[in-house]
Symmetry: D2
Amino acid sequence: MMARGINKVILIGNLGQDPEVKYMPSGNAVTNLTLATSDTWKDKQTGQPQERTEWHRVVFFNRLAEIAGEYLRKGSKVYIEGALRTRKWQDQSGQDRYTTEIVASEMQMLDSRGGEGGGGNQGGYAGNQDPMGYGQQPQQQASRPAPQQSRPQNQPAPQQQPAQPAPGFDDFDDDIPF
Amino acid sequence: MMARGINKVILIGNLGQDPEVKYMPSGNAVTNLTLATSDTWKDKQTGQPQERTEWHRVVFFNRLAEIAGEYLRKGSKVYIEGALRTRKWQDQSGQDRYTTEIVASEMQMLDSRGGEGGGGNQGGYAGNQDPMGYGQQPQQQASRPAPQQSRPQNQPAPQQQPAQPAPGFDDFDDDIPF
Amino acid sequence: MMARGINKVILIGNLGQDPEVKYMPSGNAVTNLTLATSDTWKDKQTGQPQERTEWHRVVFFNRLAEIAGEYLRKGSKVYIEGALRTRKWQDQSGQDRYTTEIVASEMQMLDSRGGEGGGGNQGGYAGNQDPMGYGQQPQQQASRPAPQQSRPQNQPAPQQQPAQPAPGFDDFDDDIPF
Amino acid sequence: MMARGINKVILIGNLGQDPEVKYMPSGNAVTNLTLATSDTWKDKQTGQPQERTEWHRVVFFNRLAEIAGEYLRKGSKVYIEGALRTRKWQDQSGQDRYTTEIVASEMQMLDSRGGEGGGGNQGGYAGNQDPMGYGQQPQQQASRPAPQQSRPQNQPAPQQQPAQPAPGFDDFDDDIPF
DNA sequence: TTTT
DNA sequence: TTTT
C-alpha cells in the first residue's frame, strides 16, 4: 500500500469489553473492540476536576485480528497504532450514517495479567527480514530454542460462521456506533 | 490537562476547502476544516490500481484556530497533530448521532505557496520557557530582529458574531458529518 | 517554543536503572534515565531467533523531572514522548563527542507495581484550560474531591546541591554515553 | 520483526546534503542522509529569539534506500518515520564511540520541486494486500492506467561497488558523527 | 542496565 | 471537497 499523506493514530487505553472476533467468508478474521482513553482537567470556574472518557472503535484484520481476539480481554491495557477510516453505512431507515474507526496495524499488550504466556508486540506484518540492519553485524549465536508459536492454532473454519456479510462492513452497526 | 492513556493522531494531508472560522460567545476562535489523505493499492484479483481518499474532520481552538484560519487555504498541505474526540449530537429527527473529529494541538504548514510570509510551525501552546534545555548552554547571541508577529492582529470582536451557539457543538452539523 | 519541522520520539520500554535526579543551581530538576526497547527477528540463514536491545537515554526537565524521579524505578514500564537532541561535549582528552538523547515532554507510567498510588499520565505542561473543548458542553458536576497532589512537595533547596555544574550538560558524561 | 516496546521516531525536516547511496556486497542499497529540524524560542532574560537546529542522521535500507537516493536532494523537505538505533564503533585511536541514527521505515516527500515526477509516499514494505479492508467494499472500477514505476530501474551492479565493508557499519564514520 |  |  502506498499513501499520499500520513494517517496515523497512536492509542494507549483499556478495552471496554472482550474483543469480538468474526470471520469473513474467506476465512480471514476481523476483530472489533472499543478502547477507552480519558482526559482529566480542572474546570476554569469552579476548579473542580473534570473527566471525560473517549471511546475508540478499533478494527483488526487477518493475523492481527486473531492475536487481538486471543490475547486481549475486557480491561486489558494495550498500545495500538493504526489509521483512521470513516465508513458509510445505512441505518434501518435508509439514512446514510458514518462511523470512524482505527484500522490497527500494530498492537502491543501492556499488561501481562492473563496467564496466556502470550502478549508481546505484534507487528502488522510478518517481516522475517532484518529491517534494522542488525544482521550486518557479527552474528550473535543465539542458542535458545525457537519461540512458542503465539499465533492461534485453531483457525476457525469459515463455515462455522454462516454466510453472513463481512463484519464491520454490513452487519456490524445495528444502529449506533457502539 | 492530564490523561490516562494516549490519544494521538498525526496527519499530513491537503485541505478540501478553505477553513471555516467561527467565534465563541467568549470571543475564542474555533476553526473547522477537512483534510484528505489517500491510500492506493492494487486489487488482488485484477491488479488494477485502487485509490481511496480518507476525509478527516479537524477542529482547532483559540490561538491555533486563528492561525489555521489565517494561513490555511483549500489545497494547503499541512501537518496536524491532535487527539480523537467523538461528539454526540441530535439530527433533525432527534436521533442521536456521532461525529469523530481530530482536535488539533499542533499544526505545521508544509507548502509556502501563499505569499503570506506565514507558515512555520505553530505549537498549541505558547511556551516561552526552554523545554529542550538549550538555555543551559552558553548563550548564542541572537542579533537578528524579533520575528514578525504571526498571530493575527485582527481578533474579531465577539459582538460581531451574534450570540450564536458554540460552533462545532450545536450548529455545526446540519445533517451529516461533512 | 516554535519549530520548523517535526522532531518527535515515542518510546515504550523499561528502565534499566533507577532514574537519576539532579538539580540545577536554579533549583530546577533534571532527571536522566535509560530505557530499553528490544527487537526480535529470525536469522535469515539459520532461522535462529535473534534479539537486540536498544538503550535510549532520556532526560526530563522541571516538573516532569520531579515526577519521573519520584514514580519511576528500575524495571518500570513507561511511555515517553519527546524530541531528539544531540549534545556536544568534550571527553577528557579534549576531543569533541556527541550524545543523542530524548528530551521528554510527556510521560505515562504503564505499570502500577509500586504502591505509590502515583502514576497516571503526566503531560509536560500544566494546562488547566480545556484544550479538547469539553468545557463547552453542559457542565458535569464533578463532586469527587480534588486529586491528591502528585507533585513532590519536597522541592530540594538549591543549596543542598552545592554549586555543581548543570547535570546533563557539564558533569553528566564522564566518558561514554552510558 | 517483533518488538518488546515501542521505538518510534517521526521527523519532518530538510536534507542538509544530497543523500549518500552505497551498496552492500549483497547488492542491497544503504542510503545515509542528515535532516535538519529547528526549534525557536525566546530567551527568558533578554526576550531575544533563539534558534537551534537539530541534525538527525537517517539511514535507509534496501528498496527505501534506492528511492531516497533517487528522489531526495539537498534541501528536500521530507517526512520520515523510523526507529532509533545507536551503533558502537571504534575511532582511529581504538576508543569505543557511539552514533545514534534513525533507521527509516517510511518516507514521504513533501515538496515536488524536482521535475522527476516521482516522490509520493513510500512505505517500507511492498504490501499489495488491502490492510485497510477497502477491498471488501464494492469494487470501484479503476480504469486509469497502471501507475508509472517509481522504483529506480537502474539497480547498480554490486561489482561497481568494490568489495567495501558495509556502509554505515564500518567505513561510514571516519571520525565524528557528521 | 530493563523486560518477557 | 484536496492532492499527485
